[in-house]
Symmetry: C2
Subunit: 472 residues, 2 copies
């Protein structure tokens, strides 16, 4: 049968459950395959429309062990967290799915409804655009997103409120909204229409229609396994390698000058970072032995060890590879960490992963925009981002490699990988050139530091931080 309102054909529940379970195991089997995906289901809607019941019914129809459900009270959109930060750790690995009751849209709605001043439409729409872009990035990186709005008319809502008993009220958290207030109801409807264009809207008048429409939409999505293109259409325009990378200009500094400069600069840097109202994110890329570790040591010299975290990025683990490549960085950015320093970063996508072929051309060519958006979201939410490329000459690298091999406490720092990377020297220079050209944004600028002379390099790093913090 077809219901007139929604054009949903009610199917046999027994068949539906068989189809859902089969599709669910089909999804599980995509793990590690070319058509892999995971599924994030965002649910929102009018109170008492029955989104809880629809998910409950779905969980009865599928194998509940492979459908995770996440529910949190809404986070107010804060100026110190990007909208995706509370959620990224729940993004499932390929082959898995999750229903998110609390999600970035419910946060936006709650914030718009609860702030003392009404949220400006332009700001609201800007958030929605950011959210859509984030979801597109998820989709490109094997995480499908399906969004469902459970709708209910004003009249039916009032009837359901009349019938609700005390125990039920306990389980329907009304998020402090007065659903008896027609003006507020209209306001919710008006606001949600600003973002639900690409949502499945379910009219929840009838419970059976609601549950079937929801489950059938999930089924359809589960069956649809994406094709991810690996070939690009146009030829890649390689950026010219800047002189600063080809032949890093070496300014030599005496030991005395260095010590004096370091003493004063490291104090200034500590103070500037500590008292800046923003969170500080400092990232390092560069050839092996360019001096990342040494620079980091000087940045933290005058900090209390409780004020900062250092993240040393190595090859991803299996559980990280089953998620978008940014996932392991999303989840390392802690809400309460004031200063975070990354020794190697997300730029691995367009450096080592590009060069070694771990990312397809489509993937790494798309990554520049993804990374820019990622950094923009952080920058919009109280992060100041200071990015370093440490530029060393090929000869100087060789000298340092050999010195490391001969020095007991440094020989652990050098491995066969380092020599192998060195054999790709020109590839890395080209990749770095493209990266610098495409990700040098006003909100997250690159600093290229010549490091053949260690002393002046460290001093320059500290000065660059001060400059970007406007504390010089």
């Amino acid at each position: 049968m077809t219901t007139p309102e929604s054009n949903v054909e009610l199917v046999d529940a027994g068949q539906l459950t068989l189809d859902l379970i089969e599709a669910q195991y089909g999804l599980k089997n995509t793990r590690g395959q070319k058509n892999a995906k995971s599924l994030v289901i965002l649910v929102s809607g009018i109170e008492l429309a029955g989104k809880g019941e629809a998910v409950k019914q779905l969980r009865e129809w599928v194998d509940p062990r492979y459908l995770r459900v996440k529910a949190d009270p809404p986070y107010m959109m804060q100026k110190n967290q990007a909208f995706w930060q509370p959620y990224t750790r729940y993004i499932p690995a390929e082959g898995q799915m999750i229903v998110m009751f609390g999600n970035w849209y419910s946060d936006l709605l709650a914030t718009a409804l609860h702030v003392s001043e009404p949220m400006d439409d332009t700001l609201f729409d800007a958030y929605v655009a950011q959210m859509n872009a984030f979801e597109q990035d998820l989709k490109n990186n094997h995480v499908d997103v399906i969004k469902v709005w459970f709708d209910l008319s004003w009249k039916s809502l009032q009837k359901r409120l009349d019938k609700m008993d005390v125990e039920e009220q306990r389980w329907h958290k009304l998020h402090g909204l007065d659903w008896r207030n027609k003006k507020q109801y209209d306001n919710v409807q008006k606001l949600r229409q600003r973002f639900t264009d690409d949502w499945l809207i379910i009219d929840c008048e009838d419970a059976e229609v609601r549950d079937q429409q929801f489950a059938q939409a999930i089924l359809k999505n589960l069956k649809h396994l994406p094709h991810y293109p690996t070939q690009v259409k146009t030829k890649w325009k390689q950026a010219e390698v800047p002189k600063a990378l080809l032949a890093p200009a070496t300014a030599e500094m005496s030991s005395e000058d260095y010590k004096a400069e370091l003493k004063s600069l490291s104090k200034k840097v500590a103070k500037a970072m500590r008292f800046d109202p923003r969170k500080v994110l400092i990232t390092f890329e560069g050839m092996d032995a360019a001096g990342k570790g040494g620079a980091i040591k000087r940045i933290v010299k005058k900090l209390d060890p409780r004020e900062y975290g250092i993240y040393t990025i190595a090859a991803p683990e299996k559980y990280e590879l089953a998620r978008p490549y940014l996932w392991r960085f999303w989840t390392k950015l802690l809400e309460d960490e004031k200063i975070s320093i990354f020794d190697r970063t997300w730029y691995g996508r367009v450096l080592v992963e590009r060069i070694e072929g771990f990312a397809t051309p489509v993937e790494w060519q798309r990554a520049y925009d993804e990374i820019n958006r990622f950094e923009k979201d952080l920058s919009d939410n109280q992060y100041i981002i200071v990015k370093f490329w440490l530029a060393i000459s090929k000869d100087e690298q060789e000298l340092r490699f050999k010195a490391r091999e001969e020095t007991p406490h440094k020989r652990f720092k050098i491995t066969e990988d380092d020599w192998r990377n060195r054999s790709h020297w020109d590839d890395y220079l080209n990749a770095a050139a493209d990266m610098l050209q495409r990700t040098n944004t006003f909100y997250a600028p690159w600093h290229v530091i010549a490091t053949n002379d260690k002393y002046s390099a460290r001093v320059e790093v500290l000065k660059a931080i001060l400059k970007q913090l406007k504390a010089d």
Copy 2:
């Protein structure tokens, strides 16, 4: 030179840093080796003694990228979290180390000092005993623990308080204690002496002595790589396999009776779990195809999907194998989850890991006590633990395997592993018998359910939950 107070020989700082870095890389290289370990450094002490400074100096001497530092304000010892719950997620993988400023002892101290009524000595000592046992379990499972108390005399503390300026005060969080109050100082000293017997106590009168004593202790520990015994000394006393496992008594139930019973029981179970003040932890073990999934489905039938989480346990991943085997369960128990259901559990240690040889005899034979302690800690902190062994006969399993292979939506449930496990049938029965005998505690009892008849099995599971919740 040797200082008279502490017998610390001050060594050349240059040599110390070389030794520390070498030892640090030595630790890194243990990963995956037989002598692997990670290192947790707990630091506590009198305010202004300088534990922050000592860690800062340590971080300058070592490679700071491989020394993580964790600092949190103290958690009050709560009745709904075991003392280790806020910390387990920070327990490092083999080859890594972390300094924990906030730790279970600082929580205990803060709680004892801040509760309106003084904490009973017996309770305090019981906590300390639990903490020591937990640390011993960590050590046995490749996580070394070193504990350092930074001490300062009353006189010196007062002098340092006199000299402290405003900016300094900002970075020394005094946790609301009045360090000008001699009585309170004495109380801290009295309390900490109840747990610092096996700690390194550093007298912090002199900063250089303090920093060197601390760093030298870490160096000594880094150099000491443990030997983990793999051979047991005595013969294992195999428990007799109970009849309930050998020949599960099958009570057949008609479809009508089942439906009626299920309807009433699933409602009762939902209500009982929802309104019980404790958190509910339900675990399932049993042969493949014994009906774990089906039983779980009926437990959650009348629950809102937001009220519970289901955890399906498969083989551990690499990052999980680099930590104690309980780690992946510790970190799944969420503070705010009311009902957690595990489809396979930590008992894998004494079942599949024992049988397949993934755990050595020493390891699995020790695991019974470790698991009992783990469950006791949870039970002491507002968890009710309901454990099920689903007992099926070998013939019935074969029937179900074949049925699964022939049913489209079930054929995904059967793999070669299942047939392989079946070939170890008697080993599993023996392992289950040992497990039931050694981990059937009053705070976390086992329920053995005969499952040859699916209907009666599901009903029995629900009844057992009600019984243990005293809601039948």
